[in-house]
Amino acid sequence: MSDIEETINRIKTHKSVQGIVICNNDGQIIRSTYGSESKEGENIARTIPTLAAKAKSTVRDLDPMNELTFLRIKSKNNEIMVAPDKEFLLIVVQGPKEEKKEEE
């Protein structure tokens, strides 16, 4: 267990990280740094795995020998990074420091 926590912590303490969600490919949350009241983590877990699956199949469609390794979604307010795997998805939301402060 501690290994997992250590890794999560390392990412979490990285500058400008807003939140982390680890879920399985069905979108069930395994770990989330978002509070259970806020829908944010839940929304991420619901939507990102579908997108990741789509990206995965797109990459493979273009080249059957290729494989999706990492997914980075840049948006106006933040950046969502997705590390895909057979079973799990690590989703890291990164945003500008100022905004993080404002939110706090």
Binding site: D3, N9, I11, S16, I22, Q28, E37, A83, D85
Partner: protein, 546 residues
Amino acid sequence: MNEGIFNDFNEKEQVFEFTKGNQTYIRDMGTVTDYKAKNQGTTTKKECQDFEQQIDQNELQQTKGKLFIMQFDSNKLAQFLKRVLPTVIKELDESLNLKKYHSYKPISDVQRKETELVYVLTNAQNKPVELEKKLEITDIQWNSNGLMIAASYGCLEHMGQCSHTSYINCWNIFKRDFKPDKPTTVIETNTCNMCMQFHPTKPNILAVGSFNGELYLYDVSTNSELAHSTIDEYYHRESITAVLWLQDESIMTLGCEGKVLIWNPERGNGEFSLQNPLKGCYLVRKKESQTESVGGVCISQSNEDPFSFIVGSEGGSVLRAQITPINYTMTKQAYLDSRDKGLIWKEETILFMQNLNQKCLPEIRLHVESYCKERKINNIFIQQLVNSKPDIRKMYANPINYAYEAHYGTVYSISFSPFVKSAFITASMDGQIRLYLQNTARCLAVYEYIQTYILSAQFSPTRPCVFAACDSLGQILIFDLTQDTQQQVVTLKNDGQSASCLRFNQRQQDLLACSYQGCEVRIFQLNDELTQPKENELKELQQLLS
């Protein structure tokens, strides 16, 4: 992994899919243990918010008892995390280092890339009259809901008094049967109109200043005149050059002769009256030991201090005036009680008196009272006060308390920034657009255009670093300080006709209206680059200004 539990979980979720409360209950349960476990691992770094959650979860656990546990192979997860950690850290670092990448803005699918001319507004029916009388558009204004644009017409070549018939045309550009060459409303006026302003909240009320010095109030929806003021030595005697609605819904007018008057038109029950102003100021400057009145051309209210106004003059001065709003509390009632002398100061007169220059009040009082005694007048209305002709310099205080670095020609417009409250820009005949801060006499930046007059300049209502100006060559110059601090980034050219007046729509914020010689108003729809606020833009402007 226990599949039985999972199936159970899924089944239940389906059952309760439409009963929100129950569904969330199960979901919460699903994450309960996770939280607990996570918190255990990172207790020292937890904030109290999380701590509270932990307690809640524990309570839930105790009261509700049953738990669904999200099962997973923790070994596999640990391996996965270990494997992706370097990549994630690398990616995180990378995106921090790539500053350029951060400011990259993709062109989203709804974006407007080009600034387009959407309408050319004219009054085709009136064209011969406009030509015959040499009318030009003197001012344009959007109304408070941003749906209508009004243009005031006036002749620019006057010999003495004005006796022209002129117009105010209003186009409701969002109306379904709107035609660009046919105004929705045409108001015919007996004098040339020089400036106007819509009521800040009532979209149909328009205050208009005339060339002769009268202030008119119109209802554009019914095409009717609500009230108008008279010409007097103590009111405006020359052209009104600027009209402003103040916060308390009174109207401030600036006259060419240097008077600033405040009127309160509301009389309740939809009645309006502009019989007399309730407050007056007289802009005076000392020049070589001689006092001269300042010919005011434009005025703008400060966003920082609502009693501060910046006035631009014919001579090029940029001055700050301190003008307090009308004082309605009757404080001078006891003082102006002259019943023992057989004189009755009427309430309206008292109200007017207490808003005059307080230093000279006793002198004016004596003057008026002796005038009334001579003529055996018992009731002192404002008319009597005015008729007695007290010294105007004594009646109206001089509100000027600060002078900024002056322009070399008439200052045509002043516009405050809606974001940095002390910053304002001026446009002048000398071809300069200047950026000032309210508390600094020297201007911060000068944008100079040789051989043109800059006739109007205004800050963008959406982007702190953007402002626009128009000049006598007919160009609209749009500045974006984030891109270029030296010159304009966009020039909307025009063939010859000068552009006199430029107004951003404060509601439909991508619309910019500009009036041109030949009685034409053009409405531009600005591209998103110029209207969508950028990240850290305000900070950038503040840095530029400091």
